[in-house]
């Protein structure tokens, strides 16, 4: 005699991204902290020294925040016009910033008043930076020049005019104090050597360059501009390695994570994308507004993103500690010993064994199904906890009832309350491709059963209204998708037949008949 076979719950994989280690790593951030600045945040720079404070350049101010503070520790407000490109020196003690009026100011991190002012640029200076020896400052300006300043004497050491458009990107070399890279709106990226006083390498990016970035090894250079992110191999004389086109608006900023040197790019399309070492997108952060600047703290503790609406969004990394405090609050279950008690007892030779039949433990709905109590089983499956956290269990019970041919019986004879439960569940899950097929049957049966009495309850009627709306929308969507599919088909038909075959592998399953059934149900709803 076979025992009762419990309902099989199918765990269908969710469509979409696959879970990899990278996604897990980048998912492990808390929800962002939003800090409101006075204007668009154009530059964020982390101090290389231990507390890793960060300077945020926005409007006419530069604020310095601590890693976990939401109020600025320090602020530099002595700008007459918009400040740009505030960045720390290698020891974190000095800060340099350009401004709209063409002045470059140098601040002590503890002081308020500028230590030095470098005058000479005739137009706005958008990018400034210390060279790696710490005694010189390099700046790029809208007056097409790129100047190097001596910090102690505050004099201009040299001025190079090689770009033919605004200079909006700058990256000094950390290994060689005489090298720096600039990017300009004239679509070029240039590497300058102060020893020769001119550019030593020029790369055509093809779009106005918004940001340049050097890998720590300084063999690879990243430039962003337009929708493209390009990686250049400097050791091969500036050969283009990869060109990435993952954003659909201008890529404004790029930075490297300190763990594993993963590339992050932010764009006006409000996304931050994280690439793995083979330059495939592994993760995606969504933001509320177009991104202008971005920085990652050493050890990837914090990801700070500045946006056009003046909001600075700071994400902190989750730590195990936090989790532990959460779990310790929860009541501990019985210990392992309780479960194995008596299970590992080995009988001695002369013991008389009385075998006890192993009891089959069934879930509540299975017990009810076993005794053919179909309505009760459906009720159990529709209980709050199951239907919200484990919808697949609810659907499995529905499928099982349908297989037994008793789904109609189970759905019949319900009052307003339990009917709304079912309709709520339908509203929530009817478009999940994993569940839509059985749920559409449920919808059909509900309509058939309660057609006469639906108008007596305003609650149910409202829900049906909503159901009709969403179904109609879904049907339209499916129709559009089918149209797209048709267009694509014609496109692929003109390509080689092999390509077509490869593409069809990914074609959504049973889209066609799904659409038909969706529209039939929505038609049913309409009739009512």
């Amino acid at each position: 005699m076979a025992s009762f076979k419990p309902t099989k719950v199918q765990f269908l994989p969710k469509l979409g991204e696959k879970v990899t280690e990278d996604t897990l790593y980048w998912k492990n951030y808390k929800s962002p902290v939003q800090i409101k600045e006075f204007g668009a945040v154009t530059k964020i720079d982390f101090s290389p020294l231990a507390p890793h404070n960060y300077a945020v350049t926005a409007s006419t101010r530069i604020h310095v925040y601590g890693l976990h503070s939401q109020e600025p520790i320090r602020s530099f407000t002595r700008f007459r016009d918009t400040a740009y490109g505030g960045s720390f020196r290698g020891d974190g003690k000095l800060l340099v910033a350009g401004s709209e009026e063409g002045l470059i100011r140098l601040f002590d991190i503890c002081g308020r008043v500028a230590l030095r002012q470098f005058t000479g640029h005739s137009k706005a200076v958008h990018v400034t930076s210390f060279l790696s020896d710490g005694f010189r400052v390099v700046s790029g300006s809208d007056d097409l020049t790129c100047r190097v300043w001596d910090v102690p004497s505050a004099v201009e050491l040299s001025s190079i005019t090689e770009h033919t458009d605004y200079i909006r990107a700058l990256a000094p070399s950390k290994l060689n104090p005489d090298l720096f890279v600039t990017g300009s709106y004239d679509h070029t990226v240039k590497v300058f050597d102060m020893r020769s006083g001119s550019s030593v390498m020029t790369m055509q990016h093809g779009h106005p360059v918004e940001c340049v970035l050097l890998y720590p090894s300084e063999a690879l250079l990243v430039s962003t501009g337009g929708r493209y992110v390009k990686i250049w191999d400097l050791l091969k004389g500036g050969q283009e390695l990869v060109s990435l086109k993952n954003h659909h608006k201008t890529v404004t900023c790029a930075c490297l994570s300190s763990v594993g040197n993963k590339l992050l790019t932010g764009s006006l399309d409000r996304h931050v994308k994280v690439y793995n070492s083979s330059y495939k997108v592994v993760h995606n952060f969504d933001c509320d507004a177009s991104i202008l600047s971005m920085a990652v703290a050493p050890d990837d503790e914090v990801v700070a993103v500045g946006m056009t609406n003046g909001v600075l969004s700071v994400r902190h990394r989750k730590h195990k500690k936090d989790k532990e405090t959460l779990t310790s609050r929860r009541r501990r279950g019985p210990s392992y010993r309780v479960f194995v008690k008596g299970k590992n007892f080995v009988p001695r030779q002369d013991d008389f064994l009385v075998s006890k039949p192993v009891k089959q433990y069934l879930r509540k709905y299975d017990k009810q199904l076993k005794s053919f109590e179909v309505s009760k089983a459906l009720d159990t499956a529709l209980q709050m906890w199951t239907r919200t956290s484990k919808p697949e269990v609810t659907v499995a019970v529905i499928i099982e009832l349908n297989r037994r041919g008793t789904l109609k019986n189970a759905l019949a004879g319900r009052n307003e309350e339990s009917l709304t439960k079912i309709l709520n569940f339908l509203l929530k899950h009817i478009f999940d491709p994993r569940f839509s097929r059985p749920l559409l049957t449920v919808g059909d049966i509900v309509l058939d059963l309660y057609r006469q009495v639906l108008h007596q309850s305003p609650v149910v009627e409202r829900q049906l209204q909503r159901l009709m709306e969403v179904l109609g929308r879904e049907a339209e969507l499916q129709q559009e998708l089918l149209q797209v599919l048709g267009i694509l088909d014609t496109l692929f038909a003109s390509l080689t037949p092999r390509k077509e075959v490869l593409w069809e592998e990914h074609c959504p399953m049973s889209l066609n008949n799904h659409c038909v059934s969706v529209s039939s149900v929505s038609a049913d709803v309409c009739r009512i």
Partner: protein, 832 residues
């Protein structure tokens, strides 16, 4: 072609054991059931098939114990005879020739020498008029007697044999037909009839389905089509009858049975739940659910200790009176149709086909035994008529037998078709298949054909479906996650001009894949998934497709719906030959070049066996059977035959089994094979190891041996010692390992058996007492031994036994005497 007489079609694979109610012998040791034209005897305890009563020439339709002698059994058959058997020894005692087809047999203790039989009325078979007749058995000593003394009891008989039953002590007989219950009283010679209305307001269906009479009370229980059970009382007075109704079954009650004391009523139906109603207290009932297929018959042993239920899935369950299943006798499960192909499990060499609903059965053809069921669907089976259930429709093994692919399907009629493709891995530890991957939407429409690649290294599955695509599935790494996964994923999707594929097949070295799309065959290379070529031979849709094997591997064979058998040469991509023959099944032999083709023409099926390279068929058999053949399989032989005759050569390495539309499993057997079978059956020792299990025998003997050790001082004759030893060895070799006692017990016995004391005088009197029923058989063997050795040694013990022997035993002895016992002499000579 010359019709060779030494190959003939043989029916094989157990036929139905559930046609008639099984009967339990009065000592509860045996279960008898009809199986085709045999009556099979099983042991209730070990569930082993002991022997069969062979003699009828057509389907046996009823068996019943002889009320006068509980060791005898009557059987009736469609061939028009009633035979009386001694079922323990399997001897035919008498044959009564009735002369018309018989469909059921009833006996009663009160009517000695009278049999009650269902006969078909001679008019015509379409009306299905049945008659209940009583036959007086003539008393004569002859083996075959013609029974002429017939008298009709009634002609209002349902064709269902369970609608007739004898009442209390045989005073009356109750039979029902449609809506009428008739009771015939033998004393009054009168029939009372009671009728019910066909339906009522509540939608009852009152047609009778079965009947049972209480053994000691005047009460008749009837089962009805809507699941009601009615208990009729007081029907002796025609007008004042009463009945009470119980309703538990939700569908027709198939069978009813009172326990011998009449304390309980057992009922069963399609739900496969055995219900035990307490007689008198009608609401108290016990259930035994999930027994298997729907219950067709229930019978109880005469002491009420055992019940037997026979099920629609060709199974007999033995149930103790405490409502515990204690044994299952399983035949080859035959559903309504075999949807899967016939397959051979490469590991166990078992035949694999649809079994119980949602299961695959593994059936050993060699031992004619059901091995096990593999649950494919893994869902609770709901026993309800007309419910659309999941069925296994396709299955395939890979060449090593380490993977099994199955397709289960639901919703044949309705538009929403559900199906799953499942892949099962063979688990070495548990020696069974374990579910590895379930693919929910493998295709958007029904899968038509499925095959594994035949190479040893990489396994690949190809499925072709009605959504005009075929897909290749591979096990292994998923490129995206870069992990070595064990599950299967889609590797390639192919299509050809949006035509529906009809078949797919791999070549023998799996370097080529042939997929037929309607009238076109496309050849693909599975390595690069390039379409190499297309072969086209209109008219007609391709029905079957197979590659040649071994030396003929350059040929591709195909059959079309327009009665064409084509053979392409793959090297030249040209049609080699084609012939007009309506092939219903094309089956290549995996171990030779041969291909078998079954062709159906004008109500009979012909078989052709040919090599693709030769235009002349190797073997032709006209009129293999009268039905269409859709499934066939070549089963590799354990040891190849070495026949040189051209017509039988194709059966040397493998055997062809095929399944007709009537679900008969047939095969071809050659003369040499039959000879071998015959010789092997001669060597079989007929041992009555039913009640006395081998375990008991060994232990019993062990005790005897100990006794002997104790009385070592007594001189012991050498002769019984010797036979003792040889019997022990034989038993050691013949009993399965798991029923043997521990080796430590056996070892001393084994060594003792080689000890021979030289002084042969007399047997120990104590020992003679100890010997149980086994003695009889032992003494037989003793005799054999002494016969073969020396005639001069006259043995007292043997002389004592011989006069007791029955005629049958004597015959047996004669047969045994003829067999060769020279090996025994050799055994003795080797000893000092």
């Amino acid at each position: 072609m010359v019709e060779t007489s030494d190959i003939r079609v043989v029916r094989c694979g157990g036929s139905k054991v559930n046609l008639t109610p099984p009967i339990i012998s009065s000592d509860s040791r045996f279960v008898l059931c009809t199986s085709g034209d045999l009556v099979k005897v099983y042991s209730t305890r070990t569930e082993e098939w002991l022997h069969s009563l062979q003699g009828h020439t057509n389907q046996v339709t009823g068996i019943t114990l002889n009320p006068a002698n509980h060791l005898q059994v009557y059987s009736c058959s469609v061939d028009g005879t009633v035979k009386l058997w001694d079922f323990i020894d399997g001897i035919l005692i008498k044959t009564f020739v009735i002369g018309c087809p018989l469909f059921a047999i009833y006996v009663s203790e009160k009517h000695t020498g009278v049999l009650f039989l269902h006969v078909s009325m001679a008019t015509d078979s379409k009306n299905e008029c049945f008659q209940l007749v009583s036959v007086h058995l003539p008393k004569s000593a002859e083996q075959e007697v013609e029974a002429k003394e017939m008298s009709a009891v009634s002609s209002h008989i349902s064709k269902n044999p369970s609608c007739t039953a004898f009442g209390r002590g045989g005073e009356y007989i109750a039979f029902a037909r449609h809506l009428q219950l008739n009771v015939y009283f033998f004393r009054k010679q009168k029939t009372y009839s009671f009728s019910l209305k066909a339906t009522d307001k509540k939608g009852a269906k009152n047609a009778f389905t079965c009947i049972a009479c209480h053994p000691t009370d005047d009460c008749i229980a009837t089962g009805h089509e809507d699941g009601k059970i009615r208990l009729w009382r007081n029907f002796i007075h025609k007008k004042e009858y009463t009945y009470s109704t119980q309703h538990w079954h939700h569908n027709a009650v198939n069978t009813l049975c009172f326990t011998p004391e009449g304390t309980h009523l057992l009922s069963g139906g399609i739900e496969s739940v055995l219900v035990q109603w307490q007689y008198g207290a009608d609401n108290r009932k016990e259930f035994l659910p999930r027994l298997g297929g729907s219950i067709l018959h229930i019978s109880a042993s005469s002491d009420g200790q055992l019940f037997c239920t026979s099920h629609s899935d060709n199974k007999i369950t033995v149930i103790e009176s405490s409502f515990k299943v204690c044994g299952v006798i399983q035949g080859l499960v035959k559903g309504d149709a075999v949807l899967t192909d016939l397959m051979i499990d490469p590991r166990s060499k078992a035949l694999v086909l649809n079994g119980k609903p949602g299961h695959l059965q593994f059936y050993s053809l060699l031992r004619d035994k059901h091995l096990y069921n593999l649950d494919i669907v893994q869902q609770e089976y709901i026993y309800e008529a007309g419910l659309d259930q999941f069925e296994v429709v396709k299955a395939a093994f890979d060449i090593k037998g380490s993977w099994l692919a199955t397709v289960e399907e639901r919703g044949k009629k309705s538009s929403d078709l559900e199906f799953f493709l499942k892949l099962w891995a063979f688990d070495e530890r548990t020696q069974s298949f374990v579910l590895n991957t379930t693919i929910t939407a493998a295709h958007t429409d029904r899968i038509i054909s499925m095959c594994f690649s035949s190479s040893e290294e990489t396994t690949m599955l190809v499925t072709a479906a009605e959504d005009s695509q075929f897909k290749a599935w591979c096990q292994g790494a998923d490129a995206d996650t870069q992990q070595d996964q064990n599950f299967w994923s889609c590797d390639f999707v192919g299509s050809y001009h949006k035509l529906n594929p009809t078949n797919c097949s791999f070549s023998a070295d799996s370097s080529l894949l042939a997929v037929s799309f309607q009238e076109v065959i496309t050849i693909w290379s599975p390595d690069t998934w390039e379409m190499l070529t297309t072969l086209c031979q209109p008219p007609g849709v391709i029905r079957d497709l197979c590659f040649g094997r071994l030396s003929c591997s350059k040929y591709l064979l195909g059959t079309t719906t327009k009665n064409l058998l084509c053979c392409w040469n793959l090297l030249t991509c040209e049609l080699e030959w084609s012939t007009s023959v309506d092939v219903s099944k094309l089956q290549p032999d995996p171990f030779s070049e041969n291909v078998a083709a079954f062709s159906y023409q004008s109500k009979h099926t012909d078989l052709f066996v040919f090599k693709p390279s030769e235009p002349r068929p190797l073997f032709t058999n006209k009129n293999v059977c009268s039905e269409k053949v859709h499934r066939a399989v070549f089963v590799p032989r354990e040891e190849p035959l070495n026949s040189c005759d051209e017509s039988t050569q194709w059966l040397n390495r493998s055997q062809l089994y095929f399944l007709t539309q009537n679900m008969d499993l047939l095969t071809f057997s050659t003369a040499t094979e039959e000879d071998r079978m015959l010789s092997s059956s001669k060597q079989l020792v007929i041992d009555d190891s039913v009640a006395v299990t081998p375990f008991y025998l060994l232990l019993g003997k062990h005790r005897q041996q100990q006794q002997k050790l104790n009385t070592q001082s007594h001189p012991v004759s050498d002769k019984p010692q010797q036979t003792q030893g040889s019997v022990t060895i034989k038993e050691l070799l013949h009993t399965p390992a798991h029923v043997l006692p521990a080796a430590s017990v056996l070892c001393s016995m084994f060594v003792n058996s080689f000890l021979i004391s030289n002084t042969g005088v007399q047997q120990d009197p104590l020992r003679e007492e100890m010997d149980s029923e086994k003695e009889e058989e032992d003494s037989e063997e003793e005799m054999e031994a002494c016969d073969s050795q020396q005639e001069l040694r006259a043995q007292g013990s043997v002389d004592e036994v011989t006069p007791k022997l029955s005629k049958a035993q004597e015959r047996e002895l004669k047969r045994v005497r003829k067999t060769d016992f020279s090996w025994m002499a050799g055994l003795i000579d080797s000893k000092p």
